[in-house]
Symmetry: D2
Subunit: 406 residues, 4 copies
């Protein structure tokens, strides 16, 4: 398979090939990796399908490098790793993070991924046992899990590189292949060779940069928030019995949202095979097609929000390091109510207040470890000059207010 970033990607065996061919996985071809970012960075059109394949490619490299260094990884564990990284995001719905928690409240995409893995495991007659064990963090070899989920897992190493590549934000470029060449395992835990310290520093800085410059870009935040408001409005209109033209798959999920499912307890019971089949029919195309129809809907709020989204006539945004003042909110509220004739209870569709935050490196969980000469390791954060002290653990918060320019 051809990849603009890595050149050729090899599918290692029939098992992996069959996973890729499966409709659950093919669906990822229709889910944009970066949600609505293409409205800011027109190149950001790559899919979750492509990212998952890319992460699997990096996993093959990591396995090759670690085995060269004498780390024992059985054939079974290899397939487990490859399947786990391939399927780690299979539970993502349309527009990924933007609509997560809205379409299926109180269920995370990781939980849904796990349900899909279990369905596939039945279909593939237990061949995903090790994959699931690794994904759940229950495998005795801890580094297998760390390759799937940690500060330097193959997921991050692909998506940061890929997102930087497709957006054209060159400073975010991560030298993933170099970082992988410096991986090793000591006492069952993933470590990075000492000389990799500069590469890790660059990696963390690139990651922080991608957050502020791309993922949390002003226009991106506005578009995501309008998208959420559109779906909330549609969901509400369905609830009150209005006619909301959209695909069957989308209608079902919006109706479900209004039901009481999320009080039912254990999501894996709730997420039945039938419901998973339905969910696997849902992707970005349902959302965009619906919004295109809705931009002519008789409901003003749905129509106006949809029109603005499709024609990229987005809201303005005011960002600040301190909470938005009441004064500003009141001023904007008055203007919107007056100009748009929106009731107080519907004001939230046009005056959106929230906050975003980012933290470079979470010292608490899965700290990066550097290999010392004597086969012990120490924490990266203790050895890096620039990443010592407050900077690393500091959580930066920004407050914002979105509203139409009227």
């Amino acid at each position: 398979m051809n990849d603009p970033i890595y050149g050729f990607i090899t599918i290692p065996n029939t098992f992996i090939f069959n996973l890729i061919e499966h409709p659950y996985f093919q669906r990822l071809r229709r889910i944009n990796q970066m949600g609505v970012s293409y409205l800011v960075y027109p190149g950001a059109q790559h899919t979750r399908f492509h990212h998952a394949i890319g992460a699997m490619h990096l996993m093959q490299q990591a396995i090759y490098v670690l085995k060269l260094k004498g780390v024992k990884i059985t054939k079974k564990e290899q397939n487990g790793l490859l399947a786990a990284i391939l399927l780690h995001d299979i539970g993502h719905g349309p527009f990924s993070h933007a609509l997560e928690g809205l379409l299926l409240p109180s269920v995370s995409h990781e939980q849904i991924s796990l349900v899909y893995m279990e369905l596939l495991n039945k279909e593939f007659k237990g061949k995903l046992d090790t994959c699931i064990q690794i994904f759940k963090g229950e495998h005795p070899k801890k580094f297998l899990y760390e390759l799937i989920s940690s500060q330097l897992d193959m997921d991050r190493l692909d998506y940061l590189k890929r997102d930087s590549f497709y957006t054209g934000v060159a400073e975010g470029n991560v030298n993933s292949e170099r970082l992988i060449k410096m991986l090793n395992v000591v006492n069952g835990e993933l470590v990075v060779e000492q000389k990799g310290i500069y590469s890790i520093e660059q990696f963390l800085l690139s990651r922080r940069m991608m957050y502020w410059q791309v993922y949390l870009h002003k226009t991106n935040i506005v578009a995501e928030n309008i998208l959420v408001k559109i779906m909330q409005r549609a969901s509400y209109l369905i609830k009150i019995g209005a006619n909301i033209p959209c695909s069957r798959a989308l209608k079902e999920i919006l109706q479900l949202k209004n039901s009481t499912y999320n009080t039912l307890g254990n999501p894996s019971e709730f997420l039945s095979q039938k419901r998973m089949e339905q969910f696997s029919d849902l992707d970005d195309f349902d959302i965009i097609s619906a919004i295109k129809e809705w931009k002519n809907h008789s409901d003003f709020i749905l129509r106006e929000l949809s029109r603005r989204f499709i024609y990229r006539d987005l809201f303005k945004i005011k960002m600040s390091k301190t909470p938005i003042t009441n004064e500003l909110k009141k001023q904007k509220a008055r203007k919107i109510q007056k100009k748009l004739g929106v009731s107080k209870q519907d004001l939230h569709y046009f005056l959106i207040e929230d906050q975003i935050s980012n933290q470079v490196y979470n010292k608490k969980t899965q700290k990066i470890k550097l290999l010392n000469k004597n086969d012990t390791w120490s924490y990266f954060s203790h050895q890096s000059d620039p990443f010592q002290g407050q900077f690393l653990s500091k959580k930066v918060i920004k407050y914002f207010l979105c509203y139409p320019k009227i």
Copy 2:
């Protein structure tokens, strides 16, 4: 604006900015530049929006280079060139070439582009006069048209580079910026400096390669043909009054197709503003969303074709330099009729025969000219060693037959 290929792209002025912001142009964000190629090359997700912006960027460079060399281009002509290259493909419908001639038979996308330009010209109060004059080839300065449409126009220089970049087919990479630096104008016609001869040879070879390896890739041909058959079936079912769930925009165009519009003569009369508004609502999302619904339709043919398209369970293809033998066709026909229970008249949905062809360089039209030392020019094809003789003008034809693997 950020571009993975060129770095930064500058929007030169408010006029161009407003064209880009216009809903007609924003629609191109939802039309894939390469149709169904992403089924072969997962990276091929770039849009016509991005391509048009890229071609405009190259046009800015060409204008800069030519002016440095003393070629006179007025401010008005500059804006004309930029608008013309920006809008040259605005008439493309969903899935571009694959469905062209099917959704709107007997109307080319260039004709539709022209109608859009004229609508925009009204809206922009005559500011597109020069643009339209250039686009129609009616401007007295011939090279202005050649920058828009010729063997080395900015359209080709962007799409070949871009398609090569996103598919990852490195051999197709074209050094567009270098070719542009070698452009000049002699007696009002576009020429390339003598030393550019190798770059042109490489360009033509890359182009030929992209045709055989990418645009005419087996899987691409199969997917395009299935797509066409799906739309033909849907159109037929609408005609006979069946219920075909799809977006309003798509339904209208499919109904129109069944009407007698195409016997009405002059397309620019037929293509009324209202119809153009409708058409501007139609994009890849309508098509894919419809097919997703149709994969559960009660009509076997529509359902089966749709299912195969969405789940990428495509047909096989037999390609050959000679026409497909009757023997093979009969054998496959018997098998399909037997296994699928398809009637003879519906056989064409599952047994598709056609041919493709490609010609590296059309000597008849718009030959590339090389600048001699004494300010005259001579034809590239007379000076290039490898591109002399039969090879250039030879049209290569390949015949194919598609059918399900059953």
Copy 3:
């Protein structure tokens, strides 16, 4: 002119072309930009000639960008800037920094550059007046000097990018063209636009990384120190009247070194035109050719050091964050004296102790300024999260001891 990094480089006018053609400048073709680094990074073979041309290319870009933003730069100032950046390193001798201070003690390469500029100014009849004024920091427009010499001058922006490119140390890659696009001038001083903050952070981290990973690489330090010792020995042998085969240019400079010139006061008096002509004949080829001859010399010390340098049979090095212990030094000294039969006073040729240091960002001099919205500026170091605090101003020192493996 072709450049692997920037594509084409244009020579802007005849004046600059004539400077480049001048023998003083052509000499830079024979001086490696990175000294002995090619012994570690075989790709590091680029010359000072290439770097100076590259820096001039970036200067052209900077001038273009600043003028677009309305900054006034006269034709004369432009030529001054281009000449100044082109000639800023013309005073470098063979192996640049490694032998600076040894071949011509107490004269810096900047002083020699200035003398060359003055000689050229005579030859070019005053055309370098503005160039010299800028180079000396005496031009009333402060930003002109800052483009030549500051934290973000065109010299650094080229050499960091170029050294990273040729060594293949991808993490050191600096997005110079992007940084230049963000330059501006406020109140006559060079500033960077606010959104450039991430790029500056990356730049500083890359720079720090290049220091530790490349410029201060262990093998590099060893090779440089052996080179210095070879020249010291040759100089000593000349002093005592031994026959030291080498080029005329090298012999003269080594004899000069032994003279009392450096007590003569004003270097610009001392650096007569005749002496400058001689010096302009001296380059890496003299040094390497001499060492090749010396590897067969009858003096053991000169022979042994030369042989080790040419055959890359280098010393070992022990590096440490604390000063080298006397114990280790004594132990190594005993071994060397015993095995090599070296006298105590000659021990320093084989047992080299010294220290290296690096500081990311000198807060005292030429701090980077960020442009605020209201056309004021503030210091970068006050706004950057990771570059606040101790990290920036902290000078990291490492101690080392080199000795042959015997």
Copy 4:
């Protein structure tokens, strides 16, 4: 080892490491891969050392790919291949092709490489037996030789890519890694998979382009010819007993040239170990350092040619598809004799007539083979459209005359 082109290059084992460390091989660090091309393309400073390491890297990849496809290659053969590609050019003297045949007339660099291999084989106690067998084309597995020497050998795949990279001539870029991925072996012979046909076409076109644009660039030809004339003059002056300052190694080879050695028959007898040791001391530094001295020599011809070479004040060149006319030659001769006061017999130093030629693909020897589906192969030249017919086998000849601009 770091490489700007391939990233990391791994040294596969101690045997190969020791070959690289050997002084014979380290000498290649001081021989420029592209001779005097740096006078045209300032980036072309890479060495034969770097190229040999790069070719070895590609050989590792080829071995890996072929073994994956089931081709049997023993450990011994692997080391043979790696050593053979590493040492294939070890016999090159300073300025490679330019001075080949002049410094050691009637001995090719391949013959010298073989002598070095045999010397190394003694030192490494027979470990190079297989290497030598492959290099001589005497190994029963024919494809081993083809990997070392054929139209698509690892030598070419590296040097074309490397030369294109360092000169910045992007059109010459060859996708070596892709071509290698398409290699296979059928009946003991190296073949390329069918789909590789486009890549081969691009490769041949790139190669042809590099010849005309780089290797046979006008300025390159002039500089090479002046270099040859300088060495001829120096050799003549030595013969007549003049004092010619230069390194011992260069003096010996120039004296040898004047002796009768080349009538002695078998070169491998003539090329004694002692002579090879001497030769291994000779590199670009001897030549350039000598010419720098000679630019002040009392002999006018030696001085003038040397000065022009060092200060890049080169001759003009007149190129033509037809032989240079006598008229032009006489005119230039008169002028040179008059202005420079050169005698008729010395005229050839300043009026150089010769021809260059290039052939894209030699159909006679080592034709490229394409793998068919049924495990047979057919010749590439029979299947490629553009590379059929006259173009391929046609030898293009150009005639030239060089002379000083006076």
